[in-house]
Each structure stands twice: as structure tokens, then as C-alpha cells.
């Protein structure tokens, strides 16, 4: 956003400038994200029959509420691999598909944020998460935290 700065021509001009700048907060951008599920649960069974395990919460409503004049990007980053006692599953075994023009599909990463969506206005859509199962994974309960971050640019 560009703004022409008025010329300062004395106290009057200075006060005008202050007044003009003082109006900026009224138009300050706000950005919020909402994902309908606080946790995503995967219940696997026979990897030979169900090699891809959908999250029980699929599809998950996602919304980005934005009031600004720039653009926003929504990323997701995992804190690490899926962890259980004495075992782990690479977080890259979890991918998602997206519905909604602003959102895109991808694969989770623990090292670099992955783009989930981008836009310049508020957007709604849905995400569906899937785990690529394997006979090589040990039985157990695994957990990990992922964080969605929306940033204006």
C-alpha cells in the first residue's frame, strides 16, 4: 500500500500529517485463520486393504478472514515426525487435498513450511488429510503437532 505524504508547512501541516496518520489504524489489516478440527485422528486397519487412511474429521472446513489491501499466504509446518514409544513415522507420509480456489494440496514437512493457500481476500474451503500406511510401521499410538500460520505480504 502506498500513501502520498503531505508536505509539512508548519504546525498546521504537521497536525494534518498527524491526523492523516491517525486514521491508519481504522483501516489496519486483520488476518485470522480457522480450522474446524482441533485434532486430526487417523484410525488404521489393514494396510493391504486400506493403504491410505483418511482422517476421521475429513473434510475439515478452513477459513481465512482477511481485511487488508495486500495478500496473505497460509502455510503449515509440523513439529516433527509422528512419534510413538520407540517408533516413528515420517511426517511426509501425511498429505492433504484441498477444496476452494484459494487452497492447494500438499504434503506435510517438518523442515519447511508448506503452502496451503494464498489470496488477497477472505477465503473458505476444506482440507482433507490422509496417511500413507505401510506394513512396515509398528503398531502403536502416534502423535505430532502441526501449526498453520497465515501471514500477510
Amino acid at each position: 500500500m502506498t500513501r502520498r505524504a503531505p508536505r509539512i508547512t508548519g504546525i498546521g501541516g504537521l497536525l494534518f500529517t498527524l491526523f492523516a496518520l491517525g486514521t491508519a489504524p481504522a483501516s489496519a489489516a486483520s488476518l485470522g485463520i480457522s480450522l474446524a478440527a482441533p485434532s486430526l485422528r487417523f484410525q488404521a486397519s489393514n494396510p493391504g486393504v486400506q493403504p491410505t487412511v483418511p482422517a476421521l474429521e475429513n473434510p475439515i472446513a478452513v477459513s481465512v478472514n482477511y481485511s487488508g489491501t495486500g495478500n496473505w499466504v497460509l502455510n503449515v509446518l509440523a513439529d516433527g515426525d509422528l512419534l510413538s514409544a520407540g517408533s516413528s513415522i515420517p511426517i511426509s507420509r501425511v498429505r492433504w487435498t484441498a477444496n476452494g480456489a484459494a487452497f492447494s494440496s500438499g504434503t506435510l514437512s517438518k523442515t519447511s513450511p508448506q503452502a496451503v493457500g494464498t489470496g488477497n481476500v477472505s477465503a473458505t474451503g476444506s482440507l482433507s488429510f490422509f496417511l500413507a500406511d505401510s506394513w512396515n510401521f509398528a503398531a502403536g499410538s502416534y502423535a505430532q503437532t502441526i501449526t498453520f500460520t497465515a501471514v500477510e505480504f
Partner: protein, 184 residues
């Protein structure tokens, strides 16, 4: 006048700085939302037996009078080797055990004739994965074919043989074995 400016300017500059900061922050707002992934992988076992040409039967044909029928190599099953595919999801360090058990001590023949299951042996080949045992015959009525640990897919081929004997009465003998896969 100069005094007035000197008094106003610091205030103005301070005000500009104070107002400028929110404007700059408004250009880089962000929002976070953390979520938990919970994955439950239960233990699971799947055993697939293939290669049997006649349903679930393994057939031996000892017809003929050749002395070769009574050699140590025994009589191979008429079927080619059967295939064993073990798919197991075990806990960390959990066991994966495949056993084969007979339903009785003997193969039942005509008029009460019998052949002990201990006369039946096998050869395991083409194994993949860990834990396949070196057992080649029944110990009484049971044998362990696989004793491994941890999840994974394992395969092997198994060719049954029966040690023939001139003491066996002519006729048709039959018996049943059961395979059991246990995963922990």
C-alpha cells in the same frame, strides 16, 4: 516562534513514530493455529496361502513301483510349492509367529491304516524377511515356520514331501493342517 517549534517537533516526531509503527504492523499481520495429529495403528495379521492347484489340498501321488519312491528324498507333493505371504503389523519388538498344526497325530488311511505326520517334511525356499525357521518337519503335531519380530511383509515358498514306506497299506490317506499367524 522558535521555542514553539522546538517544543512541538519532538512531540510530532514522537507521534509520527508511534503512529507509524501500527501502520507498519498492519502490513505484516499473521495468525497461528496449532493442531494435533493422532494416529492409531493397531496390531494386524494377514496370511495368504497361494499356489495350490486343487483348492486347499496338497496332494501326493505315490503310484508306481519304482524304488525311487522309497528313497530318502521322499515323494514331493503333486502341487508346486505353495506360497506363504505373511503381513504383520506388530508392536515395537513384538513377535510375529507362524505355526502349522495337524488336527491329529496321523494321516488317516483305509481300514484304520495311518501314516504319522512326522513322515511329512517340507522345504522352505525363496524367503524374504526375517524369522523363517530351519524346521523341516513336524515335531509331533506342530511346527513353527516363522518366528520373527517387528512389522513387515515376509514371503516364502513351501514344498511338502512325504517319506514313503513299503509298510504303508495301499490306499488314500488324508489329514488336515492349520496355519496360525500370531502378531503381538
Amino acid at each position: 516562534m522558535k521555542n514553539v517549534w522546538s517544543a512541538v517537533l519532538p512531540v510530532a516526531v514522537l507521534a509520527l513514530g508511534a503512529l507509524g509503527a501500527p501502520a507498519a504492523h498492519a502490513q505484516s499481520v499473521d495468525s497461528d493455529s496449532s493442531h494435533t495429529l493422532d494416529v492409531n495403528l493397531p496390531t494386524y495379521a494377514k496370511l495368504t496361502i497361494g499356489g495350490l492347484a486343487n483348492g486347499n489340498k496338497v496332494e501326493f501321488n505315490a503310484a508306481g513301483a519304482s524304488d525311487a519312491l522309497y528313497s530318502d528324498s521322499g515323494v514331493s507333493s503333486a502341487d508346486s510349492a505353495i506360497s506363504l505371504t505373511v503381513e504383520a503389523r506388530a508392536s515395537v519388538g513384538g513377535s510375529v509367529v507362524l505355526t502349522v498344526d495337524t488336527e491329529s497325530a496321523n494321516l488317516a488311511g483305509p481300514n484304520g491304516a495311518s501314516i504319522p505326520w512326522t513322515a511329512v517334511s517340507w522345504a522352505l525356499g525363496g524367503t524374504s524377511g526375517d524369522g523363517w525357521t530351519s524346521a523341516t518337519a513336524f515335531s509331533e503335531t506342530s511346527a513353527t515356520l516363522l518366528n520373527g519380530t517387528d512389522s513387515g511383509q515376509r514371503t516364502a515358498s513351501l514344498l511338502y514331501k512325504i517319506a514313503n514306506s513299503k509298510s504303508y497299506a495301499a490306499g488314500q490317506y488324508s489329514g488336515t493342517v492349520s496355519y496360525t499367524l500370531t502378531v503381538q
